[in-house]
Symmetry: C2
Subunit: 333 residues, 2 copies
């Protein structure tokens, strides 16, 4: 694999051009560009430019609207519903978060559902946006069947990521963002592309047998992380992302999707919680004592720190050359 | 290990006697007995009579009040705060759940914190009680440092259980209830008592080395399930149970505890969410289609089913003979 170096400015320009040239209006483009650049900035290459060909495929096939106009509605003082108008999720998130955080600051906790959208990115942008308001953030989505429940040998779940952000005023939040699969879909796609083997236990081939071949797993299925306990968390994510939003479960999404390689229609579930209103004004001091204790343990790292460290650098990012060429060609046609 | 058979009525009677004889008033006794009997009924032996000597130790040492009078307060339309008055948690839960579920039915979502209590039981009784109102339930607690974060070799977390219940009107709810440790503390105590080895990866000895000896792990520390991802879930539980409640983190609880063998003072965090208000009136049909799909996969079992199957039986339960004799002797002195 050969890479080329692009500055964050180059990445932004490339992303802006490809979305604009493929039918995205200004507001949708801005939200998508921000999502792609944030991923590359944080070194999460499986969620940055890597996703662009999929986004473009779905714009070109007409599955997803580049001019979607999401509508935000407070259905109760603690519930927010966003109808994504059949667009990609970033603009829905951008419009929904202010309503969600305002509600959580007012009554202490709020939930938000986004429906009628297509999610194809990491989840930390939204949970960090919630944590920026000194609120605890949680978000999850499902996808298409790509993972078997523990004990089973047929895919049912998406890779079902969950993100949880804990606010640390004056510092970067503590941010968990992980697939509940043994490996994230983007990571396994990259392993397959680059010909890398993956650890045993990552997934099964199409016949339901264990394999270390990433391509065979892409044709078969992933397994949940951590055996039956990880499978339980994947199930919780599936139920929140689809059952609690009223949007498609993964097994439904695969039936309605047109197979263009972009994200299927699906829902996203959010929570925002005020630690101040629950625990009182001492909460920051109390929690920072805990974080100090955590960080005093040799070898123990807080989730999200690698990304936050990457974010500090304005050095050019190494991007797969073929990918850049592919995106450039998508700007032309 | 020899066992004797006790009917659920025998278990209830024994539990009632031991709590009453050790200073519990009627309301606290009723809540505790219900918790112990529910655990034995469901075959969760590590959370039933097995816990009684610990409960009694804390009543006798004066750490926990047998006549606690928990107070429930709605601080906003979506937040409930319960002060447990330094008792065991079951009575606080019993008094708090109606306020929590009423709030969730009114505004769609509610959170509850219980502080100033001592939790020593499973979590499914509370999440099932929430699900009985057709609400999604979540609960979590921490404990005393007994588990190292992933990569570390010093204990920081409790075994940090989380429970999540999904309502299925007319059926038993889907209920997850699991330690985020590779093995629950009660299970490892029982393995140590019975001289059983545990799988490698369950925990470390006091020097921070891997071991399969349950007694050595009790002197050392457990590990999270599922590597760094399970560790992230354990961290989320610790933050919700202590950071969001304002109660003690595990590392604080061990400092204030008197070491009597009963549970330390700690908090409990709850969520209740209305799927109907979020997803609309079709939610039951929609989710039952998903559960049918899940159950159609060979080898895939929904969490909680074993317990619910056990619950159907009114046959006598096999209880460790020594344990029964110990509890009987605690009734006398």
């Amino acid at each position: 694999m050969t890479t080329i170096e692009l500055t964050l400015g180059d990445i932004e320009k490339l992303a802006r051009e490809v979305f604009t040239k493929n039918g995205c209006d200004k507001t949708n483009t801005a939200a998508l560009v921000q999502t792609v650049v944030a991923a590359e900035c944080d070194g999460a290459m499986s969620h940055g430019l890597f996703r662009v060909p999929g986004y473009i495929a779905s714009l070109r096939s007409g599955k997803v609207r580049g001019d979607a106009n999401p509508r935000v509605e407070n259905t109760t003082p603690a519930l927010i519903r966003v109808d994504g108008d059949n667009g990609f999720t970033p603009l829905s998130i951008k419009r929904g978060i202010p309503a969600l955080t305002t509600a959580a600051k007012t009554v202490g906790i709020a939930a938000m559902t986004i429906t009628n959208t297509h999610h194809f990115a990491a989840l930390w942008p939204e949970t960090e946006a919630i944590a920026a308001h000194d609120l605890i953030g949680l978000a999850c989505v499902c996808y298409m069947p790509f993972m078997a429940p523990f004990g089973g040998n047929r895919p049912l779940f998406g890779t079902n990521p969950i993100s949880f952000a804990w606010p640390r005023p004056g510092k970067n939040p503590m941010v968990i963002d992980m697939a509940t699969a043994a490996m994230a879909q983007g990571e396994i796609q990259i392993a397959a592309r680059d010909g890398h083997k993956v650890p045993l236990g990552t997934g099964l081939n199409a016949s339901g047998d264990q394999t270390t071949d990433a391509s065979d797993i892409l044709k078969g299925m992933l397994l949940p992380f951590g055996g039956y306990k990880g499978s339980a968390i994947a199930l919780m994510v599936e139920l929140l992302a689809a059952g609690a939003t009223g949007e498609q479960f993964s097994f439904e999404a695969v039936k309605t999707d047109n197979g263009d390689g972009g994200p299927p229609r699906g829902g996203e579930f959010f929570l925002a919680i005020s630690p101040e209103m629950l625990a009182g004004s001492d909460w920051v001091t109390h929690c920072e004592e805990f974080f100090a204790k955590y960080e005093s343990i040799d070898g123990a790292r807080l989730p999200g720190q690698r990304r936050h460290n990457n974010r500090m650098s304005d050095a050019p990012r190494k991007i797969n050359r073929q990918l850049v060429e592919q995106i450039e060609s998508l700007c032309d046609s």
